[in-house]
Homo-oligomer: 169 residues x 2
């Protein structure tokens, strides 16, 4: 493969599809990258990774399903990454510093870097399905006001987790 | 306002909402930033700007409606920006270097920087509605294989258009 092809994000995904049925994508195998104590709290959350399938690198797009009782994440905010969600099905509860709000299909919310800590909970008896978008600005970190956790984005794009005092999990 | 508040993208949007009904957002007043000859070809395209309402800066999210006969854009590709679309309603035709494909609700497509030139057409008699996402990587430019047009992203985030030979429109 030529250097030009190697450098080309499209060229490096030789089999990238033109368009896909989002619900037909196989869910991500690893349910969460959190330390085990917190990963256990992500039961019932299922992510279909969409953007990466097309070779996108600047932001990620997932189709995420929350079974009844499941959460989108621990409540958190990023220092560099902007995030956005669009509800496709069901009625998630959005929890931010401002309180709780029930959402429904066609509603959206955005979470700018440095803004309010947030997450979604499915407090209903039906599935919730939404699109989530987040960019991949280098040097990002995340704080978790309700949990003894901090995260730093490593140079390879993986999250590195510590206690709030900096000691490793 | 303190410097810290000025520097904080969330703090600078004092009235940013927590969540909104996407379809209730007032459409963007300016239909297109293209030179007039090309802007006229964007009739029937209506964009509701969603991400900016929440103070997002790293990427944009629009809820876009194409009336029958309308196009998403001129067929183009970016050098730096990744793009993604998710169909919510109707059946747009996706046109890329690979040909034509009819999409339907629940389908998505991604267009990595440097990848295939692309756009959507509404060749049906019903509206098409989709979400579009694109990042704002500095130094972006766009080329338009079917038209005598080039675009460079200016330092203020505005698009600067020229003919392919570099002369201004």
């Amino acid at each position: 493969m030529s250097k030009a092809a190697t450098d080309n994000p499209a060229g490096s995904i030789a089999s990238a599809p033109v368009a896909i049925e989002a619900a037909g994508v196989v869910p991500r195998a690893k349910p969460s990258s959190y330390p085990a104590l917190f990963a256990a709290r992500m039961a019932g959350r299922e992510k279909r990774v969409l953007g990466d399938l097309f070779g996108l690198r600047n932001f990620g797009v997932n189709l995420t399903r929350l079974a009844p009782g499941a959460a989108s994440s621990l409540r958190h905010r990023h220092t560099k990454q902007d995030e956005f969600i669009f509800v496709l099905d069901g009625e998630p509860t959005l929890i931010t510093d401002a309180g709780k709000e029930s959402l429904h299909p066609g509603m959206c919310a955005g979470f700018p870097a440095g803004g309010a800590a947030h997450h979604l909970l499915n407090e209903t008896s039906a599935d919730v399905i939404y699109l989530e978008i987040g960019d991949r600005t280098p040097g990002d970190s995340a704080d978790y006001p309700d949990d003894d956790l901090r995260a730093e984005l490593g140079p390879g794009g993986q999250w590195l987790y510590t206690h709030k005092d900096g000691s490793p999990w």
